[in-house]
Every structure is written in C-alpha cells, then in structure tokens.
Amino acid sequence: MSTDAEVTAADTNAGATQALPALDGTETTQVEAVSDSPTPPEERHRLTGAGLAARGLVWGLLAWFVLAVPANVFSPFNLGVSDVGAATEAVIFGIVGLSLNVLLGYTGQISLGHQAFVGLGAFTSAYVVVDLGLSFWFGLLIAAGVGALQAGLLGAVSLRLTGLYFALVTLAYGAFTEQTLLGITAITGGEGGKSAPRPAGFETETTYYFLCLAFLAAVIFFDWRLTSSKTGRALAALRENPRVAASYGINVKAYTLIAFVVSGAIAGLAGALLAHHDEVIVGQKFGFQLALLFVLMTVVGGLRSRSGVVIGAAFFALLGTGKLLVMIDKPLGAIGFSLTDFVEGTIGLPQEFVALVVGPILLLITITLYPGGIGQQIAPIREWLLGRPFDRHAGKVEEVTVSDVRA
C-alpha cells in the first residue's frame, strides 16, 4: 500500500481551477473545481444572544418536563404513582424502539418477533434475581446477553434468507417464543407470573423512573456513537448497496450480525427493566400484538431518527396505558372539554382501544404521506435546538425505505 499521500491544498479558492500538486513540485494538470458558489454550504452558524437564549429556554423546558415533573418538583401537576409508572413504561418503550430501530432502520431487517427478545430478557432477569439470587445489575447484564444471543442466532439465519422470508421467520419465532419458551412454567411461573423485585435503593416509582431514564440516556449516547462511527456507516452502506459496501472492505455478514447482537442486547436490557418495573411479569404480555406495536411505533416515530423513535415510543406507550388522553385532558379541562369523554361517548371508542385504532391509521398515514414520521416533523425544531438555523425543510424524507431487498 502506498504511504498516506500528504495532500495539502495550497490554494482553496472555490470557483478557481485547482492545481494538483505534482510529485516534483511543479504544477502540471488543472482540475476544474465543481461549482462557482463562493460560500461553502455548511458554515458555522453564528448564534446571536437572542438565539442562544431562546434555545436555552426550550432546552430548559424539556429538562423540566422530563426531570422535574415526574419528581413533582417545581411542578403544578401532582403526579400520582401510576402516572410516574406510566412515564417509566414510556421510557422503557423508548429503549425498545431504539433497539428495533437498529435492526429496522439502520440494517434494513424486518423483525416481527421483537417482543421475544424483550420477553426473554424480562424473564431471564427475573430468574437471575429470584432463582439465582444474584443482584439486579447482574440480572440486567445477563438479560442483555440472552437478548444478544437470540438475536445473533436469528441474525445468522437472516444471512441465508432474503428480507421478506426472514420477516416470516421472525414472525414464527415470536409465536414460538410466546407459546413454547414462555410457556415453560418452570421459568416463567405460568399463569401467576414471575416476580421480579426492585433493586435496593430504587424501590419507589420515582427512583425507578430516574434509573430507567438514565439507561435511556445511555442507550441514546450509545446509538449516537454507533451512527457516528464506522459501524453505523457500514450498516448504512450495506443496507443500501451491499456490493459497494463490500468493495469498501466492509464485511457485510459480520456487520449484519453485529447489528443483530446490538439490537438484541438493548432489547434484552429493556425487557429486564420492564420486568422489575412491573414487579410481576406474565408470559401473555409478550404476544404478537406487541410485535406489531413495536414496528408501529418505530415506523411512525421515523426510521433512523433517534428523537423521533423515542417520542413515537413514548406516545404509543402513554396512549396504550390510557395516560395520554388523561394528560391532554388536564389543560383541556380548563375550557370545559374532555377528550376522553368525547372519544368514549361521542365516538364510542373505549379508551383502552384508542391505541389499537389510532396506531395503524398513523402507520398508514406515515407510510403514504409523511414517510419520515414524527422524526421528520420535528426535524426543523431539532436542528434549531442543536444550534443550526431554523430550516422548515430539514429532515425531508422521500419514502419509507427499509431496505432495497427484492424477494
């Protein structure tokens, strides 16, 4: 291999022809620069004092909403135990969403059995803590390991099948896990479920919420580094064009497996957190409808959009537990309107089914009209919060691309 050629561009006038430094120092060939625009497109956007203050305010609001409100600190809402519990579940679903996003969004693999990773993680952790007597933290670790292992095995299978057929396999695997694996009463405690106690120091709803929030933050950081490093780039390349990826030296099979393992580990972790949140888990919780719900919230959240996926997951979690309607009703109550009454009374839709009806409609709208999902909608705000100028067209997505697989 040739040594790293030290190329220094002596003249960087855009619009001028560029001289290629020759080996002997003389200028020989000219290469035309591509365009004549004088300003490079991404210049450091200078923040004014007002801009900084505005952004700081919004960040502060977000922080208050996520940190202070659930703790009932500086907050006019008096959140009860079940409210905070719902918030915790929203956070855990956020972690699941990020996990599925790695498979569906980054690698382009459809997983219709993702609830199996979460469910087995849940029961593994319960087993480790209750039956083996190890600490909660060990439970988390081993649950992540079990998730990674399952996903890795499925990943190996995926290498031999095209995308649509693999989707079928995940479907069958989900059914298999739900009925067979989770049916083994010795591990899952049958109808009565299995107990999964809270760890020492985090027994209250509020403390457990912050614990899960910390994990969500960690997963978000991890995901950010994943996409900003060579793994993320490798996945993006192999998702779109495996041949080109291979010609860049990317081992497509190995990186696909890495994606599965990472996804499975995070899902297992989420499962463990879920188990100890519920404190008693039953196998029936992890059925096929959960698989569809996970895909739903990830696609509606916006594939490959971290913030979108987390918000989408939280939205569906809160909707599912019925908390969202209650939340919306609190401010609406001031003007004498109750969304819950409207939905249940006028439309006749029982509150528990709102998610099930609203979800698919949102999914279909996302796929056909707004492929970038929630992520696309909040992209302008997100970019602005990160210090860039407000651009209404940021994050434009043309269509929901999972992968280019022909099957």
């Binding site: 396999v169 069958a172 059914a175 067979t180 979800g359 698919p360 929901v400």
Partner: protein, 303 residues
C-alpha cells in the same frame, strides 16, 4: 401403540380439515405475490372482516343466511379494494418491505376496528351451515361445516387454476412480470391490480366466514385471524414456492397436519405450545433447505 396411531389418525383428519382453511389463505397470499411481489400480511384479516360482517348481518340484524353470507363476502371484497386503493397503489414504487409494513398496518387497523365495534370480550357464536357432524371409524369428530369448507376449497382451487389460463388470468401474470409491456398491449395494470386484490380478499373472506362458526369466538380470541391463520397460511405459501396454486393447496393441508402433530399427547405433554414449535422448526427447515419450495411443479425459480 394403537393409541398412538389413533391419535395420529385423528390428528391427520383434524389437520386436513383445518388445513383446508390454511389453503384458502395460502391461495390468496400466492395470488397477491404472483401479481405484485408483495407479502400480504392482511390476508387473514380479509377473513375476519368477512366473518364479523356476516355475523353482524346474521345475528344482529336478523338477515337470512345467504344474504348474510353475501354481505360478509361483500365486506371482505370492499376491504380488499380499499387496501389496494389507499395503501398498495400509492406505494407501488416503494420497496417490497415497505409494502409489507403497509399490509401489516392494514391488518392491525382491521383488528382495531373489530375490537372497537365488537367489544373485545363479546362472545359470539354463529350458526353453522349445517349442524350435522359425524364420527369417523378412528374416533375423529368431523363437522359438516368443516367438510363444506374443504369442499369449497377444492372448487375454488380448480376455479382459480382455470382462471389463470383465461385471458384475465394471463393478464394478471403479464402485468406482474412486465408492467410496461402489459400496458402497451392494452392491459390496464390498474384494473388488474384491483382485480387481484378483490379476488384475494374474496378468498380470505370465504376462509373466514366458513371457519368462524366452527367454534364460538371473541374479537380477541379467534380460531382464525392474524393470530391463528396468517402464519400457517404463509408457511403453506412458502412450501409452494410462493408460485404454485396446487402447491398452496397441498401446502395448506400439510401445514394443518403438522400443526396438529403438536397436539399429539407425546408432544403436547412435554413441550408447551407444541403446535407453534412444530411450525417454527418446519418453516426454518423449509426455507433453509429448499427456499424455492417443496411443492412446486417443475423448474422452480428462486424468489
């Protein structure tokens, strides 16, 4: 040991009868795949829609059986056409995987509507076409309803085979293989697409309406629907290499049988959910060993 064989015979009978339903689902899946290359995850929900509509007509509004049946079929077909119009057509240039997610969304929407309109726990029973049943020499209980379903399957399968040799049937295949060329010779790809989905929905509706009455059901717990018939239907279609109609029929019956094997006391005592386990193992084996299908006729092209 004769107990085992008797169990096996019973399983076989039950499997074949159950399998005729899976075969109808599989036919719909193969039809859609051949016509558009899409995996239709809403195929089973065409059935549940037809079923619930027929139920409403029959039990809630007091219509006669034939009318209710027709209404159910109409509902199913309408759902199929709506799916084509609102989801398939707008996404026709998207990747197949996106379309799969789209059909899954349609399935979920149907499930949600059913839960809403029929209340999750309302137990529904539908009268069967015929209440007769009889017991075979080996102790299997066979309802006339199930036999009728099997009979319908045979008729439909033959009809479909003939249809595909007809000009319309050829048009469907032409439109899938070479849409531009098909348009040039005057085949309306649009019309073909709607025809395909209408027929697939009709197949699904038939399967649903015929099976529904076999057991009492609730919106949440169906002996049909996405939770029960979709996966076996797809397995049968996979066995047929996603191409062969007769293969789909044979596949459906085979899958029905394999699932019933899980009910053999030998297995069901040791392995919980043995039916699902059997299906999973079998699907994996079929896809890894012979992805082009086991029950295909002649030179099969890998999908």
């Amino acid at each position: 040991m004769s107990d085992f064989f008797q169990e096996l015979a019973i399983a076989m009978t039950a499997g074949l009868l159950r399998g005729s339903v899976y075969a109808l689902v599989a036919l719909g899946i193969v039809l859609v795949y051949r016509a558009s290359g899409i995996f239709n995850f809403a195929q089973a929900e065409f059935g549940t829609t037809g079923l619930f509509a027929a139920y409403a007509a029959l039990e809630l509004w007091g219509w006669s059986y034939p009318l209710a049946f027709a209404f159910g079929m109409g509902a199913a077909i309408t759902m199929g056409l709506l799916t084509e119009r609102l989801v398939i057509h707008p996404l026709r240039n998207s990747s197949k995987v996106t379309l799969l997610v789209g059909t899954a969304g349609v399935a979920l929407a149907a499930i949600g509507l059913q839960f809403w309109l029929f209340n999750e726990t309302l137990i529904m029973t539908m009268p069967r076409i015929s209440e007769k049943y009889f017991v075979t020499p080996w102790g299997a209980q066979v309802t006339s309803q199930a036999l009728i379903a099997a009979g319908v399957l045979v008729v439909v399968a033959i009809a479909l085979a003939m249809f595909f040799r007809s000009p319309s049937g050829l048009a469907i295949q032409a439109a899938q293989q070479e849409p531009v060329a098909a348009e040039l010779v005057g085949i309306s790809v649009r019309r073909v697409s709607m025809m395909t989905w209408g027929i697939a929905a009709a197949l699904g509706g038939l399967a649903g309406i015929l099976t529904g009455p076999i057991l009492s059901f609730t919106a949440a717990f169906l002996s049909f629907g996405a939770f029960a018939a979709l996966l076996p239907g797809f397995m049968a279609a996979v066995l047929a290499g996603m191409r062969s109609m007769p293969g789909a029929v044979a596949g459906g019956l085979l899958v029905g049988f394999i699932e019933q094997l899980g009910s053999l006391s030998l297995l069901s005592d040791t392995v919980p959910g043995a039916g699902a386990a059997m299906l999973f193992v079998f699907l994996l084996a079929a896809l890894l060993i012979r992805p082009q299908g086991i029950l295909t006729r002649g030179a099969a092209v890998a999908a």
